[in-house]
């Protein structure tokens, strides 16, 4: 029926999904704890998510990120704590009254309904008139670039198409909060990359508060306004992608996101020293019993001439060079035996000019890239 209306124009789309923009809701999680026997799936989690924000819960499997999402959706009942959507306390509200959109890792598209049947389902539940359902379903499918797919059966769709239908179904009833549980994990890399951009731009267009769960750090960095790194049921760090990468709060976050070399350092008076060598660092070092120098491989320079002023230098012996297509990785051994990895872009001639195994080399690290972090595991 909705097909008869013809493909929706951009304006129609905006009208159909307009209300969401202005009414996104903030989420406030406070002191939420969920235990399974002796295991803390969530350990006193508190988290403020701003209205219209794209927040990613990132962590290894079993970290508690999915449990937190299930608490938000209402499928998991926590032991205690508070959950507010806007001003409304919803911790005891059953899932069907929470009015949040959600996509599932398995997509959970109803196999006995067509694409249009799936997308229209939340509207039918809300007793939206038939004609309006058709219109809004068509609009939602246009939004996810599946116009004309309404009559298809679910098993006739590819993985990427299913993902889009799941998104259309989650947004068609204009929820003010959207939850996404590893939505892209079943897709191949190329499609995943494409969908990341699409989901991000969809979020920009619709503006609903989005909580996104993934274990893929690159995906998290690409898409999020802020990322909450979760481990052992606790939030390790909540920060923007850039801060998370450049100023990890602890070794777990630094290790989980990106590659790094960690060198043990100590505080000597006002200075931070590595093997008696005082280090220049831009950000102040945290107050912690043990400290580590975190060096991102792509921030390390292979020094050939005189280093820049204040640059920290390290004497090392070159080991193997690993060719990775767009970049190379050079491993070098420091005096104390630690391996420091250096990543460089592969351009004309760069690989051929690299030192060979056993060459003595000098590595440099700028003060703003010399990040001192809390050395404890968590």
């Amino acid at each position: 029926m909705w097909q008869a209306a013809g493909p929706a124009t951009g304006k129609e789309k905006d009208r159909v999904l307009s209300t969401a923009n202005t009414q996104a809701l903030p989420i406030s999680v406070s002191h939420v704890t969920k235990t399974y026997g002796a295991v803390h799936a969530l350990d006193d989690v508190s988290l403020e998510i701003e209205s219209g924000e794209f927040l990613t819960l990132l962590g290894p499997s079993g970290s508690g990120k999915t449990t937190l999402l299930m608490v938000l959706a209402g499928f998991t009942r926590p032991d205690h704590g508070s959950l507010k959507f806007g001003d409304r306390e919803v911790i005891r509200t059953p899932p069907h009254l929470r009015d949040v959109g959600m996509t599932f890792q398995s997509y959970a598209l109803f196999p006995h309904m067509s694409v249009a049947g799936n997308v229209g389902y939340p509207l039918r539940l809300r007793n939206v008139p038939k004609a309006e359902i058709a219109e809004r379903v068509a609009g939602a499918l246009e939004t996810v670039q599946l116009g004309g797919f309404g009559e298809r059966r679910i098993d006739q769709l590819s993985g990427g198409q299913r993902q889009r239908v799941a998104v259309a179904r989650a947004i068609v009833f204009e929820p003010r909060i959207l939850l996404m549980d590893e939505p892209l994990s079943a897709l191949d890399k190329k499609l995943r990359d494409q969908m990341q951009i699409e989901l991000r731009s969809l979020h920009e267009k619709l503006g609903m508060t989005t909580v996104y769960v993934t274990h893929d750090q690159r995906e998290a960095l690409t898409m999020s306004d802020r990322i909450a790194v979760v481990n052992h049921g606790r939030i390790m760090q909540l920060a923007t992608p850039r801060d998370l990468y450049e100023k990890p709060a602890n070794r777990f976050v630094a290790d989980f996101i990106g590659d790094s070399t960690f060198l043990p350092v100590t505080r000597r008076g006002q200075q931070i020293v590595f093997e008696d060598q005082p280090l220049n660092h831009a950000a102040p070092a945290p107050e912690a019993p043990s400290l580590l120098l975190m060096a991102r491989p792509e921030r390390i320079h292979l020094l050939t001439g005189t280093p820049q002023e204040r640059m920290n230098t390290f004497e090392a012996v070159a080991q193997q060079v690993i060719y990775q297509g767009d970049s190379y990785l050079l491993n070098a051994q420091l005096h104390n035996g630690e391996i420091m990895s250096l990543r460089g872009a592969v351009r004309q001639g760069t690989v051929d000019g690299l030192p060979s195994e056993g060459d003595r080399i000098r590595l440099g690290l700028a003060p703003e890239d010399t990040v001192i972090i809390d050395g404890r595991e968590s």
Partner: protein, 307 residues
Amino acid sequence: MQAADTPQRSYETPVPSGMNAAGLRRDARLERLKLFGLSSPALLLVLVILVIPVGWLFYVSFIGANGQFSLENYERMITRKSYARIFVTTFQVSLLTTGLCILIGYPLAYFLSQLPSRLASLCLITVLLPFWTSLLVRTYAWLVLLQKRGLVNDWGISLGLWEEPIKMVHNMTGTLIGMVHIMLPFLILPLYSTMKSINRDYMNAAANLGASPRRAFWNVFFPLSTPGLFAGSLMVFILCLGFFVTPAVLGGGRVIMVSMQIVSNIELFVNWGAASALGVVLLVLTMAILWIASRFLRLDQIAGGGH
């Protein structure tokens, strides 16, 4: 596609075209033959235990009392009203049993499918327990329980629930109780496995989209469980059609089903034809139901797809 094929073919030409071709073809043929050889005992078995006896049944049903070809066995079924009544009873009992099995079995299977696996398998064993005891023993057990001075009436009266013994056996009620008890596992097993395979995410998704538990059940869970429900119901229904022992023992001679009439016809008439004709009619009716059911099922799928 075509354009892409043409240059490829030219690349192949340097390789001798007939290389090993005959041998490879022979291997393929041999493999097919072996496969057929492996399946032929099964085919033969089907022929011997299914096709030949059923064919014989059809043939014999057209042989009259005098040993000549005759339609008398079928004519009798038309002229004597009792045969039509027996078929009606048979279908009535089968339908009621199937319906009761669904009413009792569906909630039970649903309950089982929602239990943790270990507990569910324990409960499944109790459901399957009836399979391990003899049909006759179970049927007589119901007789002992339900008769006038049976356990149920004794307790009911001594607890003051009712005063006069209730007639629960030697009638349709008793027959249905016994048959439902015996048939229930046949419904629950396929239903349980279908329900177990329904991803929990579906119900969560429905709830998330705004469906109350009741609506989520009817809109999502129930439609997805229908293949199992249908398979189980059909199995129960077909098995009921040919049932003998339970209606014979618990029906008190007042619930007469086709299988019972087949037995009395063998004893009564001087040839096998009379009994065979009953078997043929039951077989044909059953096939017709299966055919209609399969069409219904296919229609259902299409309807479900275009929801």
